[in-house]
């Protein structure tokens, strides 16, 4: 099998970007999400549908998907949101505080809803058997967090800044540092799994997963902002990242659960 170089991937990324700009110039709407068929991310080749999705009108409030799974205080423990306190010792790496708000497309807070995160450790290694990157595991860091949003839709995690890591999409492929986020809204149709990045990472341009979001503004919304007010004196550096859910939201009656 021929080796695929970063240069090959860069060309493929540029090609997909030109296609998007041509679509835009022809009057197509902004694409806020990646197209599932994105050749530079090679694993997408056999895993994207070829038929157009069936549109379901979200105007019917009794549709099952316009209601949502609910979670409560019994589903989390107090230290779930502090990934630095889940073991006997202190994890290695740069402590960070990540905080923001979970909102729907109308700017309304999503209250009392579950947010789950997972990430590599400071060396860029996941606590997962399939991750064979020869970087050290940290016995004091698992990299899994959960929390419930408050009445303003706010969440806060204390964790370690994850490291970048290599993967096998192509030769010398590296993922920029990121934290995986899993989010529920006030409707199952708003379900979202995504990744949060750190500002000014030099790997952004090389990464076909981040570049799968071809719209520049949309892509920039995946990058957290350094926020000095969130930094904790003598303890951690602060990052701010708000999340906005797509899709029809639930009826108002469900708010304030």
């Amino acid at each position: 099998m021929t080796e695929i170089s970063q240069n090959d991937i860069d060309k493929a990324i540029a090609h997909k970007r030109e296609e998007y700009l041509a679509r835009r110039a022809a009057g197509a709407p902004v694409e806020n999400h990646p197209q599932r068929d994105y050749a530079p991310y090679r694993s997408s080749a056999l895993r994207h549908p070829q038929q157009a999705p069936v549109a379901v009108n979200g105007g019917d409030p009794e549709t099952v998907e316009l209601h949502t799974p609910v979670f409560g205080v019994s589903d989390i423990t107090e230290i779930d949101s502090d990934l630095t306190r889940q073991h006997n010792g202190e994890p290695l790496g740069e402590r960070i505080t990540v905080s923001g708000r979970l909102l729907d497309a109308s700017g309304r807070p999503v209250r009392s809803q579950l947010i789950e995160i997972w990430q590599a450790n400071a060396s860029g290694r996941y606590a997962h058997m399939r991750d064979q990157h020869p970087a050290p595991l940290d016995p004091n860091f698992t990299g899994v967090g959960r929390t419930l949003t408050d009445d303003e839709g706010r969440y806060t995690f204390t964790t370690i800044k994850p490291g970048a890591y290599p993967w096998r999409n192509h030769t010398n492929a590296w993922r920029p540092a990121h934290i995986h986020f899993s989010l529920f809204g006030s409707a199952f149709s708003q379900r979202l799994i995504t990744q949060m990045y750190f500002p000014n990472d030099p790997l952004f341009a090389y990464d076909p997963i981040l570049q799968s979001v071809t719209d520049d503004k949309a892509r920039s919304r995946l990058v957290a902002a350094y926020d000095h007010d969130l930094s904790v004196p003598e303890f951690s550096l602060g990052y701010h990242w708000d999340i906005v859910l797509d899709g029809p939201s639930a009826t108002w009656i469900e708010e304030g659960r």
């Binding site: 056999l46 379901v56 799974p69 423990t77 997972w118 399939r130 995986h180 029809p248």
Partner: protein, 199 residues
């Protein structure tokens, strides 16, 4: 605190793939077991996830969400109940029906869950909402599992009746012995599952 300010339209946060390493974070013990243990009405739902080459997808994550047997869509907390002593999972309480399940596919690309039959309102067939995540899938996919033994309700269901026979068939499970239903998901190609977009 209530936010009463007029709604300001915001642009959504883009989706990303779940990647290969969610397995130690998202699945939880009891994730596939929505039905209280020993409940006489329990049904089993299961199937395979296939890619465009017909190979099983070994790193997909399936989430299901459904009405309770009485048709209620309120759900309940407690799908992933925790033990405050050890931090581990204690399982569901065996009484409440949360309506939510989460199952990672195994090495055979297979998933299974045990639940109660969903209720439905008049004019609509009962179904289980299914959300599919996978490595290689940059944006999750929604579909629905309908029941083959609800032929009358299926015939008039607004979604099913809007689809041609081939697409419609991908949303209807096949019936097996012992209150079991099989529902395969084909991400691409021949027999591709009909996926839904809520607009």
């Amino acid at each position: 605190m209530t936010t009463t300010s007029p709604a300001t339209p915001l642009t959504p946060t883009p989706s990303h793939t779940i990647g290969p390493f969610y397995g130690y974070a998202l699945p939880f013990p009891g994730g596939p077991d929505l039905a209280p243990a020993g409940h006489p009405d329990t049904i089993s739902v299961h199937g395979y996830v296939y890619d465009g080459a017909g190979d099983p997808v070994q790193d997909a994550l399936i989430e299901i969400w459904q009405a309770a047997p009485d048709g209620s869509l309120d759900g309940a907390p407690g799908s992933m109940r925790r033990d405050p002593v050890t931090g581990g999972f204690v399982g569901r309480n065996g009484i409440d029906f949360t309506g939510f399940g989460r199952i990672a596919t195994d090495k055979d690309g297979r998933w299974s869950a045990h639940t109660l039959p969903p209720g439905a309102r008049p004019g609509h067939a009962p179904y289980i909402s299914v959300c599919v995540f996978a490595r290689g899938l940059l944006n999750h996919l929604f579909t629905r599992l309908y029941f083959p033994d609800q032929a009358e309700a299926n015939a008039t269901d607004p979604l099913l009746s809007s689809l041609d026979e081939e697409r419609r068939a991908t949303l209807v499970a096949t019936v097996e012995p012992n209150r079991t239903y099989r529902f395969d998901i084909r991400l691409q190609g021949e027999g591709e599952t009909a996926f839904l977009d809520f607009v």
